[in-house]
Symmetry: C2
């Protein structure tokens, strides 16, 4: 096994961990795709059920739409097609013949859902219609792909929602923001929520809100987005409803995309350390390994004691590791794989009726009497959950630059800064080019402070404060 790189060298560390902790395999041979292995699938399934249950609580119903989208549907919203046409995979051939009309492989599913919305929605009684589906989507990314960060096949949840009024639709956007915010906190991921600039919106959206996870090196990774679509999709797809007074009206709509693979990438990146992965307890059905430590005569006693410990540890799932490696190798493995806890049991523990619990996140040991094990495990896992939330709240204040020199100077010290901004796409492009890749990410949601007079980059009239960061 190659030497474990330090997390300070984030790129090397990341590649090492996803491979050695057996999460995914990048050797599949179709560019921009990966094979998800059992450890990754467990986290992915946990993330899906976490977010699906939150959506169901909020009244979203689960659907599953076909992978293929008719080319004629795909063309209906002008901005949308312009935004995606250079990215889609197209099926031209099937059953040994050219297709009469090529099929688009979904890059996102507005153009799949809206034709059906126009059939399903008849009257105000059908609204709000809050839906979602959990699927993979396909985009022919040309930027350098990094496994789970950016790929041509990625896993997500997409909600598509139709409301009778603008007010309701906007309220739903706010609810998305608060739900996503709570969930990212619960997962211990530090993040910013920003309102994207008009030149940086989802194709077809009136407003786009992005959930940018902050990676250990200070770069940001967009893990989800909420878009307020106004009537941009309901109009061209002819979705309309009869209101209480018998008049036809055009409804308003929103969408939320939750990037499951990107959240997985964020979890790996944020929680991992020089020893390997750390999987938050709520994402792992197996809470840890039980590692027996014995020499000669103590073997039988320790093995029997492990069985007793398993009983006491219920209802938490622990796996006893009777493999042939040394205890040291097993410790190494339990940390690399990121099990939340490990239980160490030697002759002393067996004799004294105690167990030693090792907490993966803070790498601390704790010895507890066997009879208190269940309570201590509950308590420890609970504490780990709380400290995840604290981990998420790491962005105390973001330094602000007021002119070009300050921008350049501050970006040498801080990965994320705030500036006053004129709102012009050209200015944003110039900033990006000059600073070697830093981007205007948008206005911070919840920001109340007014902009200064001049754009911190070009000196023109400023109209807002925005976040500047580098993204993956």
């Amino acid at each position: 096994m190659q030497e474990r790189p330090s997390k300070k060298n984030f790129s090397r560390w990341y590649d090492y961990v996803i491979y050695n902790a057996d999460l995914i395999d990048i050797r599949y041979g179709v560019k921009g795709t990966v094979v998800y292995k059992p450890k990754a699938m467990e986290i992915i399934d946990s993330l899906y059920s976490l977010f699906e249950s939150k959506l169901k609580e909020r009244g979203h119903k689960k659907y599953l739409f076909p992978l293929f989208i008719n080319f004629s549907s795909f063309k209906k919203e002008a901005e949308h097609i312009k935004g995606f046409e250079e990215e889609v995979f197209i099926v031209n051939k099937a059953g040994g013949k050219e297709l009469e009309e090529p099929l688009i492989i979904r890059p996102t599913s507005e153009t799949a859902f809206y034709p059906m919305f126009s059939i399903w929605i008849k009257s105000y009684r059908d609204l709000p219609m809050k839906t979602y589906q959990s699927v993979a989507v396909y985009r022919y990314e040309t930027k350098a792909t990094r496994p789970l960060f950016r790929g041509r096949e990625f896993l997500w949840i997409e909600t598509h929602n139709v409301f009778s009024s603008e007010e309701e639709a906007r309220k739903h956007v706010e609810e998305d923001i608060s739900m996503m915010s709570e969930q990212l906190k619960g997962l211990g991921i530090p993040y910013l929520i920003v309102k994207r600039e008009p030149f940086d919106r989802f194709p077809g959206a009136d407003e786009s809100y992005a959930y940018d996870a902050i990676m250990p090196n200070g770069e940001v990774l967009q893990v989800a987005t909420t878009h307020y679509l106004g009537q941009n999709f309901t109009k061209p797809f002819e979705v309309k409803y009869l209101d209480q007074n018998g008049n036809y009206r055009i409804p308003y709509s929103t969408t939320l995309g939750i990037g499951i693979t990107r959240i997985l990438a964020a979890i790996i990146s944020v929680h991992g350390d020089d020893y390997g992965l750390y999987i938050p307890p709520q994402l792992s059905s197996v809470k840890g390994l039980i590692i027996p430590i014995y020499y000669g005569s103590s073997e039988e006693a320790v093995k029997q004691y492990v069985q007793k410990v398993l009983e006491y540890a219920k209802p938490h799932i622990f796996i006893p590791d009777f493999g042939e490696e040394t205890p040291g190798e097993k410790f190494y493995k339990s940390e690399l794989y990121g099990f939340p806890l490990r239980i160490e049991i030697g002759r002393k523990e067996a004799e004294n009726n105690t167990v030693t619990i090792f907490r993966r996140d803070i790498r601390k040991k704790l010895t507890v009497p066997l009879k208190d094990l269940k309570i201590k495990l509950d308590e420890t896992l609970e504490n780990m959950q709380v400290s995840l939330k604290n981990k998420s709240e790491t962005i105390k204040s973001i330094p602000e630059a007021n002119n070009k020199d300050e921008v350049i100077k501050l970006l040498k010290e801080y990965p994320i800064i705030k500036i006053n901004f004129c709102g012009r796409a050209e200015c944003a492009q110039d900033l990006k080019k000059t600073t070697g890749g830093y981007e205007i990410r948008g206005e911070l949601v919840g920001e109340t402070e007014k902009a200064g007079e001049k754009c911190s980059w070009c000196g023109e009239k400023a109209i807002k404060k925005v976040i500047v960061a580098r993204s993956f």
Copy 2:
């Protein structure tokens, strides 16, 4: 709403039920695909967790492979590509350009898994490797599609398994047969398990076993298959392992495909009746509707009583239906949608502290004291589960024909018969043509009786007994 067709006219009844019970929508506009609506998704998710948990118990690990398969991998097993090349969807274009090498959309995933098996499997310690993935697969079917029975996009689970010896691989096939058999029984689906004839095998298999569900009209629907692949895939994909003696060996492999959409189709078809759907209790998180029946002054008392009943019904989920329809309309709806139970509550029930339970499967009512409600619900749901199993065991004996005249005569009376068979593909084709579509399905698994002397169709030497039926 159109008039409810009787189940005697199975085709019309099926189309009516999938549409009116709001399971799927066939108006999506890409041929051979459907939109799954929330009611179907609940059953589908239940089926996935049912089968996934059984596979996990048996030591299968969950993977997720990309949708796309490299054309070069796809070509490696000669029979396999011959069997599928006329059925695949091909991506020629992506990112606005022609692809250098076209991508195949998975019609099944042997050619995705085996290149990775050849990387992952090194030594006997890596075996057995038992995997699965839960995905949609894509086949350009040209036979008439019927929603959920046959489509171009279908949902399934596929296991891919590699063993060090032929013996182990064959034992795994037997375990598949017994697991699938138990599950289909539990779902109340009558079925036959047959060993397919050589001319009717999965492309690349040495042996194929099919799980044929028996539909109400006597036709069969293949809902799953297990294939013993021998070394047909491990050889061309160069999967090999180092055995305990330090020699390289080629392992043996198997696959099981569980057709989730087809099992859904079988559940709808077998359990539904003239009143609509019946969803087996274990597939429905909501066990039923509580329907209040009140007139004028009893309204408040009945509504309060419903809240009390909800408490007593825990931990089973029931939904109180306070909608504006009449109780009669609600009864109609609860049956059409197939809720396992419904609870009726009127003034009398509220005064006497009782509830009336309606069992959907046998359409019988039962009045129970409120205090016994939980016990009675447990018991009733348990009984419903048992009667499902009985429903599955409906094939007592299959009549046997010994010559062509008998075959033709018996097929007028029975949808499924047994014959002595010569084993020749031409004979099977002739039988199919002459009888207007009846097929040799294969040898019944577990059949011990020897074949008669002469093939019941052509009169040549018989070598086995086989099942003849018509398939969807």
